[in-house]
Structures are given as structure tokens and as C-alpha cells.
């Protein structure tokens, strides 16, 4: 049995092929992984982990709900309370298109609280809350005014999800009575009440949380670390956007069939707003009028501004200019549906990798339309790298970077290939029901991912608030953050309405007065 050369070739011919492929695969994988770890080591980015919060012990916290509309219902679900109607609807959606919201709701950890009362001036909504959340040993009580609820001694904390012009009066009333507050954004409706609310919060034993739930999103916390580690270098421009193109996104919400003067306490809705006759359109779609809402600047810009303030901590802009108009929904509204905002922060810097003094200052732009749904990502543009920021996060090195010049030259980095990508969701398909929810989801405003599991960020935000109420500690969106957000929104509203540059005086902590103009009056007027 002597093997010839021919035998060896025919029998063992596959061996060199096998060896070569193995070598090539191993070498390629190892080189890539070596380059990658060299880059990662250089960047030193630490993906953020969720905060460990102390347990919310003791007796259940007694919560009062003020405003049980669309947002009020969402907040209650984040607290663990869904209406029968919603549960039915989600069951159907789960069956039809695999929507996972019901499953996530049911898996959400229970918080130590009970819904003690509800205050909604539309009977149908108040009754819905009572019917859905009352149990044999906890009857949800209806209060006809917020003062009555706050002073009843029967609630420890209130959640305010009302039109904007009610945010501050209700928050102040609660804080003065040492009742904790979770208030939706924008925190206030006028400049004057922003200061009054700040004083009330500073003087109260109770805690105030502003409802910017994205502060719980892990990608933003990671982004914050990236800025601290100076991965992007000096960021000179930040671009943010809103694109929506559906009724819901344009605030044309459904008008309830049972809405009438008997079922709605119209006077209480109006409050300090101009006294006009009963108007269902104004009641359900209040976001479209300056008298009750604040349009793109208060409603949606605040999300983008606070998302970035949470990452960069840049504070109130020195200058704001804005333009826009009612270009897509000429339906009687008086807030703009297209808006372009430029905010300048001439003294702000995220750090420089070039000669001292060369780089300083940043422009933040916000561009919004309610007539187009094309998704434009938030981008932070630095001298050394650019970062795209949403629920995911991606960083590209810049061709002209000083910091990465050598790595770019060696071909270990190239401007077309991201050097860092953070995707805590790892491609989990999201069954999002509407275009507007997709808008919020893409921006990281609806949920975050913890160990690959989707978690409602509003739930995390509320949980943090409840934990601080019980155990003390710092809130991630308290009065300081709320003050920055509210003032910035008001400066934008003024810039748009007056068509001039609005300036902030950081030392005097006030918007630089304009002769013969009452700024708050401008904010509230219809044009």
C-alpha cells in the first residue's frame, strides 16, 4: 500500500484549501477585532447602565391625577394602570399585528402606589378613570377642582397633564401645600410664572419633576459620557428636527361625541385664557392656540432642547432667533406648524483638541414641519467626529479631525465607517402603532432598552420621582432643568412672534427687556 503523488493529491488536496480558509478567516477576524479594540480603547466610552434606585417602601404613595386625556392616560399606564378600553384595543392589536405594548405593560414592575383621586373637567374622562382604576378596597375619588384635590390631605403627589396654561398654577398650588408634583412639559406658559414656580419649588418640602422622560434613555446617558470623554472634540453645530405628517402629529385629536357644555366645565378649562364661548375644537385640540398651548416651541422643541441639555448641559441660550408660519395646516390654529429656530451659545464648548482659544461657541438649530414625515436624525457636529443621536447612537470620525489624524492616515479609521455604535435594542422589531409614536420612538422619547428589553422611559421617569419622594435624592429633571427648558421655549416663542433676536442675560437671570414691550403679553397673544 504505497501512496503515489496522485493519491496524495486526490486524497489530501482539500487540506491546503482548508488551512488557507481557516488562516484567512482567523486573520481577518483578529485584525478587525484588534483595530476595533484599539479604537475603543482610545475612545474609552462606557455604555451607561440603568440607575439602581432604592426601593419605594412603606405605605403606597397616594397619587392624584390632574388631567386624564391622552397624556394623562399614558402616564397612568406607566404607573401600572390602564383603562379597560385600552386593554381591549391592545389585545386586538396584538392579535392583528403582533403589537407588544400589552405584553410590556403587563410585564412592567409594579410600583408602590395607589391612584387616590382624579380631577378632570370632562365627565367622561373622570368617570373612565374611576371605573378603570377603582378596586373594592380603593375607590378612586373624583375632585371637581385641583385646589380641592391638593388641599384634601388625601393625596401625597399629583401628576399634572393639562393644557400648558394650567401647568404653573397647579404646580405652585401643590408645592405650596407640600404635595409632590410631576408636571408635563413645557413646565410653564409664561415667563413670569416660571420664576414663581422656581421660587415655589425652592421653598417647598415637596419634589417637582418635569416630564422629560427621555432623561432615562440609556443612549443619552451614554452620549453624555461621550461628550465628557471629548470623543467629538469641539461641537460647533447641533441639528435637531421634528417631522410629522398625520392628524395626531398636527394635534388634530378626536373630538369626543359626548363632549358638550354639560359634560365639560368650560370656565375651568379657560382659567386665565381669553373668555370665549364653549368650543370643542379648543378643548380637545388646545395645542393649536397660544392661549392654552405653545405650539412647536413649547410642545416639541422642548423635547429636543432638553434631550441635548441632558447630554451637553449647555443651559439657556444667549440668543434665539426664529421664523416660520402656518404653512401646512391652515385650519384656524394660531401656532406655527413650520418653525426654524437658531439658538446661540457663544461661550459654550465641549472641549477643544486644537490650539487654545481657537474653538468656542455653538449653534443649536431646530427645524420642524407638521407637513412631512421624513425622519431626520439629531446630529452633533464636532471637529473630531459627528454623532447621530436617537434611541441608537452612532459616531463617525471627521476627515479633518486633529484627534484622530494618525488613525485616519493609517487607515484604521475612515470617515465613512462609524467608530462607535450603541444599539441597546439590538434590532428588536418594534410594533409601533402610529406614525406619531414612531416619531417619538426614533427620538428615544418613548422607551429605552435595558439588557435588550424594551422599557417605557416614562415608567422609569415616574419611578425615579416616586423613589425620590420616598427616599430623597436627586431628580434628573427637576426645577433647574425645567427652568432652562421653559425659558428657552419662551425665548423661542418671543423670537418667532416678534421676529427679532431675543437675548438672555445670565447674570441677571432674565430675558433682556425690550423697550415698550410686555414679553408675557406677546407670548399670550394670538399672533
Amino acid at each position: 500500500m504505497k501512496w503515489t503523488r496522485r493519491d496524495m493529491l486526490k486524497g489530501l488536496g482539500g487540506l491546503p484549501i482548508l488551512g488557507s480558509i481557516w488562516w484567512a478567516g482567523a486573520a481577518n477576524a483578529l485584525v478587525k477585532s484588534k483595530d476595533r479594540s484599539e479604537i475603543l480603547e482610545r475612545l474609552k466610552i462606557e455604555p451607561s447602565l440603568p440607575n439602581a434606585l432604592p426601593e419605594i417602601g412603606g405605605d403606597p404613595i397616594r397619587i392624584g391625577i390632574i388631567g386624564f386625556g391622552i397624556r394623562g392616560e399614558q402616564l397612568c399606564r406607566a404607573l401600572g394602570f390602564a383603562t379597560g378600553e385600552w386593554l381591549e384595543m391592545m389585545k386586538e392589536e396584538e392579535r392583528l399585528n403582533g403589537n407588544t405594548q400589552l405584553k410590556e405593560f403587563l410585564e412592567q414592575e409594579k410600583l408602590n402606589l395607589r391612584i387616590a383621586g382624579v380631577c378632570d373637567i370632562f365627565d367622561v374622562r373622570a368617570e373612565n378613570a374611576i371605573a378603570s382604576f377603582s378596586t373594592p378596597d380603593n375607590k378612586v375619588k373624583r375632585y371637581s377642582t385641583y385646589q380641592e384635590m391638593i388641599r384634601s390631605g388625601e393625596v401625597d403627589a399629583v401628576i399634572i397633564a393639562t393644557p400648558d396654561h394650567w401647568h404653573a398654577p397647579m404646580s405652585i398650588e401643590a408645592l405650596e401645600n407640600d404635595v409632590h408634583v410631576y408636571v408635563e412639559k413645557p413646565m410653564t406658559h409664561t415667563i413670569e410664572e416660571t420664576y414663581r414656580l422656581r421660587d415655589a419649588a425652592r421653598n417647598s418640602k415637596a419634589h417637582l419633576m418635569v416630564g422629560h422622560q427621555h432623561r432615562q434613555t440609556l443612549s443619552f446617558k451614554t452620549a453624555s459620557d461621550i461628550i465628557d470623554k471629548k470623543v467629538l472634540g469641539h461641537v460647533s453645530v447641533v441639528q435637531t428636527f421634528t417631522n410629522r405628517n398625520d392628524d395626531n402629529g398636527a394635534w388634530n385629536y378626536d373630538i369626543h361625541e359626548k363632549a358638550n357644555e354639560q359634560t365639560i366645565d368650560w370656565q375651568q378649562f379657560l382659567g386665565s385664557a381669553p373668555q370665549i364661548p364653549f368650543n370643542k375644537n379648543h378643548f380637545f385640540r388646545w395645542r393649536k392656540w397660544w392661549a392654552y398651548g405653545s405650539g412647536l416651541s413649547g410642545d416639541l422643541l422642548t423635547h429636543d432642547y432638553d434631550r441635548l441639555n441632558c447630554v451637553l448641559n449647555m443651559g439657556i441660550p444667549k440668543y434665539v432667533t426664529a421664523s416660520g408660519g402656518i404653512y401646512t395646516h391652515n385650519d384656524g390654529r394660531n401656532v406655527p406648524d413650520v418653525l426654524q429656530v437658531n439658538m446661540d451659545f457663544p461661550d459654550f464648548s465641549t472641549g477643544s483638541t486644537q490650539a487654545p482659544g481657537k474653538e468656542k461657541g455653538m449653534t443649536f438649530t431646530y427645524n420642524a414641519t407638521l407637513g412631512n414625515g421624513y425622519n431626520r436624525p439629531t446630529i452633533l457636529m464636532g471637529h473630531d467626529a459627528s454623532m447621530e443621536l436617537g434611541n441608537n447612537l452612532t459616531i463617525w470620525p471627521d476627515r479633518g479631525s486633529t484627534k484622530y489624524a494618525q488613525l485616519l492616515e493609517e487607515g484604521k479609521m475612515n470617515p465613512e465607517t462609524p467608530i462607535y455604535h450603541y444599539n441597546p435594542g439590538a434590532n428588536i422589531p418594534d410594533a409601533v402603532s402610529s406614525a406619531t409614536s414612531q416619531y417619538f420612538a426614533d427620538k428615544g422619547l418613548m422607551w429605552t432598552y435595558i439588557d435588550g428589553v424594551r422599557v417605557n422611559s416614562t415608567y422609569l421617569h415616574l419611578r425615579e420621582w416616586l423613589s425620590v419622594i420616598r427616599n430623597g435624592g436627586d431628580l434628573s429633571c427637576g426645577i433647574k432643568e425645567g427652568f432652562d427648558e421653559a425659558i428657552t421655549a419662551h425665548m423661542t416663542g418671543l423670537a418667532y412672534k416678534l421676529g427679532r433676536r431675543i437675548e438672555w442675560d445670565p447674570l441677571a437671570e432674565q430675558i433682556v427687556p425690550i423697550e415698550d414691550i410686555d414679553l408675557d403679553e406677546v407670548l399670550l397673544t394670538s399672533t
Partner: protein
């Protein structure tokens, strides 16, 4: 048919096909073996089609690790058997099973949205074609023509010779 199978050009072309498929599988396996971060999670989690829930079930915390390891080992096993020419029928069967799973995880059905695909497909895609090619390899074994089996068979023959 037997005569056909003994035609040199046919055997050579099937061997060539066998090496190419083996090459493809082996390289995929080795790349995964040496990349500790690789996982099938995203691929499975975005599965579509009639077996969607089955694939998503594989992404569970307790199972995904096993799925990843088993996939890498199987890819390498198929690559080795086809390139070296030993247990090639087992390699072909394992390959068909894997490809069938890949095919159904993201089936090119016109009513499903095609994600991350580089071509245009209508029911038939490259996974299905490679699967059919493996079927051919299963039907036309060539390892005793080119491969370790050639040596084993020859050894077998030489033992037999004195007896005859």
C-alpha cells in the same frame, strides 16, 4: 446513471461545486468563531414569515448562546466535510437543514418586506439555490474521487486485494 457518475468532467465539476460550498460555509464559521461579539440575535429577532415566533423564541436569554455556538460549529463542520471530502453526505444534510432555517427566517415572499438584501428575489433566493446545490452533492458523492475518502477507499481496496 452509474455510467454518468463515472464521467470525469461531471465528477470534476461536482468536486468544484463541493469545494466552493465548503469554502463558503467554512469561512462563515471561522469568522464567527474568532469574533467573540458575533451573535445571531439580530438576524433571528427580525425574522419574518410563517415561523417568525419560532425564530424569536430562539433569541431568549437562555437559548441564544447555544444557538450561536451550534451555528458556528455546524458551519465549520459542513465546511470541513465538504472541503476534505469525508462524511460529505452528513455535511450536505446539515447544510440543507441550516439553509432551510436561514431561508425561512427571512423568506423572500412578495408580501413580506425585504430587509438588508442586496438583490431582488421572488420566492427563490441564494439560500434556496445553495440548498439545491447541496442536494446535488448529496446525490452525487465525490469524496472517493477527490477527498479523504479516496485514501480510505484505496486502503480498503489494498487490503482486499490479497484475498482475491
Amino acid at each position: 446513471m452509474t455510467e454518468l457518475l463515472q464521467r470525469e468532467p461531471l465528477l470534476k465539476s461536482v468536486v468544484f461545486l463541493r469545494i466552493l460550498i465548503g469554502w463558503h460555509f467554512l469561512y462563515e464559521g471561522v469568522i464567527k468563531l474568532f469574533n467573540p461579539d458575533w451573535t445571531a440575535f439580530g438576524y433571528l429577532a427580525t425574522a419574518q414569515g410563517p415561523f417568525r415566533s419560532l425564530f424569536i423564541a430562539l433569541t431568549g436569554e437562555g437559548t441564544i448562546g447555544w444557538v450561536d455556538t451550534l451555528n458556528t460549529i455546524t458551519l465549520i463542520f459542513i465546511g470541513i466535510t465538504l472541503i476534505l471530502g469525508i462524511f460529505e453526505k452528513w455535511g450536505a444534510i446539515a447544510g440543507m437543514v441550516l439553509l432551510l432555517m436561514y431561508y425561512f427566517a427571512h423568506p423572500p415572499f412578495p408580501w413580506l418586506e425585504q430587509r438588508n438584501v442586496e438583490g431582488s428575489y421572488w420566492f427563490v433566493n441564494k439560500n434556496l439555490i445553495e440548498l439545491a446545490a447541496l442536494w446535488v452533492l448529496y446525490q452525487i458523492p465525490t469524496s472517493s474521487y477527490f477527498g479523504l475518502n479516496y485514501l480510505l477507499k484505496r486502503e480498503h481496496k489494498t487490503i482486499k486485494t490479497p484475498q482475491s
